[in-house]
Symmetry: D2
């Protein structure tokens, strides 16, 4: 088997897209390993993800050949190596449970990523519980006055590392609109609440005050409005009257780690496509 | 065994309450069958629920004897027969899945209630899918102009039936502040969203538009602010991009029925105590 | 839009199947509404489900045209009207919560079925909690001696009613091997345990004795071995030490109803394909 | 506030136990912080857990005073410092996800434990993904011939370290009956299946073969029969036909880590009481 590829695409829906794409692959000796499609009848949009063994046809040849189909259907599309580890920039503040979890999953080969750098607005000591190994660590403190410069430095590091994805792993700073726009579609955040409930700061304290009976977390793409980006994954768990805010924070850590790791996995495997303010998520 | 009783109480927390209550029961020949307490360290309040076999001591005697302890600790308290079916008034509009579910659970003996009346702002035909048997049905249409009169009629029926609990089983009318106050602490509503997300109308359409990955429902006591009453129970389920608003409505029906039935069961069994804007829920 | 069709198929996996099926539909003016496929790399088998608007091509024409493709790939396949209510025979014993739930879902239009008959080994009175309306009811008592005759009568009624699906909605009789073989692939059972745990009788009592912390239910196709048929859907819920066997039975009713209804929905919508002793379930 | 204590006890149920225990504490200046009881009507047994501030009464005085009540009711009981970290011996083989998770939770102060040693039947390198810091590591290889000696060495280390709890964090060796008996009630294992389903080896492969739609994990006390010990906690998650055995293993890791950590937390906080072959678990 050749190195598997993954093709993702979206366009306006119309008859014949599946036939064209599948025939294109078949005629070039491709063999489909996994395929999903979604015909969004609400917006008349079409989304597709195909993992395939390209056989003897080279990736560049496939890419140039597919460009004409893509043009015909006005597709947004991407053709990528399925198993190549994506280069990931991790950002964190003081709470490192998501970071520790992601690094562990990387080390045991669960997440096909290559952590190219860790950036924190706090010193290395602040995340002393986490073994970051040889991943380069950058301490980039931030204040209202230095925000623009700090964000420029983040962009510079991201570019230098050729980062394909930025993960805000409990990075407790709101990105400027420009920064959010710069990383649009390639920056995942974990919001420590079950959006759209409890936007803003201290969601577990808000949840406690409101007396809800479940808490959750939401992983989403970052947009200018931090609480409004397209949601990739969410999960929630029951709580009781006996849970203090501290206990909610403890229970929340587990949900946050799990939800962010799943969203990162889905993104790394090219399983998330943007559909306006929503996402299409093709699980296997 | 005598007919079991259930004692619920709340007061400011201080040492010795459990000892006093437990000794009180023991000295009168009572035998505890199930007991829970909650020491709320946030508000320094104490909550307790005790099911017990009263032995040979009569209920009225227990009540009068307990009054002095209750006075000493400034308790809010209630002493009730555990197994006596509570008299319940059910209110519904056009969607009768919660009503059908509650009536079925009543018929098989799962809910210790006696449905004393069903009130709808729509005619009997509107809930034609539900077998209401011999439960009296009242059609009380409502318009902006007749709202006060209609609510007065609801109160009259509730009083006439001696209803102990009012269940808004997808009753799609907002109670006036006065009506909410009248039924405070004895009126349970099912909100077809996972509060505090998607308050207001058409929550499933809101959820679809926002692109969330889970939907849920919330059962709560009714207060003047329909979306803000103390929450008794919540549940949520995963959804996907492929779920249309109609499918969310379908999935929601199941969650709503389940959540409301559980909240009603908890209330009927005297397992829910108010704690300001929150609830204490003593599950077995 | 013409009346939508649904095509399901399975065969040995090889390159080009998706292309052939999708091109077949496109060339005849079909428009895909929803499509899923599964390439089972464990067994090298291929499974597909396509909902489509056939445009102006008639169903019989599609069927005869597709037969040659199907022959070429040695497919098992089915082409059906998507929205035609399937004719369903319901069987029940004394516990009617699943039956009541299915009938309610049918009445509000949630399940695209037509209940053609209800068969019970107990008299009509035994399921008195359920409003069966005008669905024909057959009381077919069964003893060891009359089992063969009773089962023959069940088959006769199924044939007479032209039943496409038999649902064992807590029908507490084990089908003979012959009966199971007769209804193979078109008879769904709800097993009131979380298979493969607690096979056999009284699973909730078994669960209580073993002290498990979750209970569940399993819907599966019936095979000669009642506890071993291909599983369609399962669900589970947490329980605690305080749950008596009776409370487990109560909690179980809700899970059973939910799991069976989902399995029936999936089957009615042609979303379940057999894969040896397992199933492929194409959710939307 | 003095250092909080936790009292746990079990005995045959009879009237007056709660009154005696609560009065005992009150009379000595104790103040209850959290209390739960369970009257097991199946076995007529009584279980209780009380967290309390002892006020000015010393722990030894409380212990000796309580002994007479305990004797009177023939209680099994324990009085312990609530917040003292328990000394824990961790055992692991090649898969270190549970170990890594437990150590991380310890480092951030979530688990009130002190890891006194790590024992593995594989060399230190086998768990290279985990930062064990300065926790002593013992490599104790095991073969059929050396099993008795290896187990003796485990006991020796446990004694030397004064270990109060042994956690089998994916330790893939079956303890001998003697070893299991030696650590009875103080050895927690994570079984990577949803007991009682899929006992024995390779449960995820068994689950795949059987085609179940959910997988789970079970944490339990170790007994001579590895698959039959009293269950402390379980959890399960949905899977689909598309999940290969490898993907089940991946999903399983997350469930296993979560379930074991919760069971360890519950044990460390003295929230688990044995009730024959079952457990009573007092969550807050």
């Amino acid at each position: 088997m050749s190195e598997p590829l993954v093709l993702t695409l979206s366009c306006a829906d119309r008859p014949g897209i599946t036939a064209r794409v599948a025939s294109f692959l078949f005629e070039r000796g491709g063999n489909i390993l996994e395929a999903q499609q979604f015909n969004d009848r609400g917006s008349d949009a079409f989304f597709m993800r195909v993992e395939f063994d390209p056989g003897s046809t080279g990736r560049e040849r496939l890419r140039s050949d597919f460009a004409s189909i893509a043009g015909e259907f006005a597709m947004e599309w991407k053709l990528a190596l399925r198993d190549r580890p994506r280069r990931v920039l991790l950002m964190v503040s003081k709470f490192d449970h998501c970071l520790a979890d992601l690094l562990y999953r990387w080390r045991i080969g669960e997440l096909a990523m290559e952590p190219v750098a860790i950036i924190s607005n706090h010193p290395r000591d602040a995340i002393g519980h986490t073994d970051i190994g040889s991943v380069p660590f950058h301490h980039l403190p931030i204040t209202r006055e230095t925000k623009a410069a700090q964000e420029a430095e983040v962009r510079r590091i991201a570019q230098e590392c050729d980062a394909e994805l930025v993960v805000l792993a409990r990075y407790m700073q709101i990105l400027s609109d420009d920064q959010a726009a710069h990383f649009a579609g390639r920056c995942v955040n974990i919001h420590h609440s079950f959006l759209p409930g409890f936007k803003g700061a201290k969601p577990y304290h808000q949840a406690y005050e409101r007396g809800v009976k479940m808490i959750g977390a939401s992983a989403h793409y970052v947009t200018a409005d931090l609480d409004e980006g397209p949601i990739i994954h969410q999960s929630a768990e029951p709580i009781s009257h006996a849970d203090s805010p501290d206990e909610l924070v403890r229970k929340g850590r587990e949900i946050e780690s799990r939800v962010l790791a799943e969203a990162v996995r889905l993104h790394l495997e090219e399983r998330v496509l943007l559909n306006g303010k929503r996402t299409v998520v093709f699980r296997s």
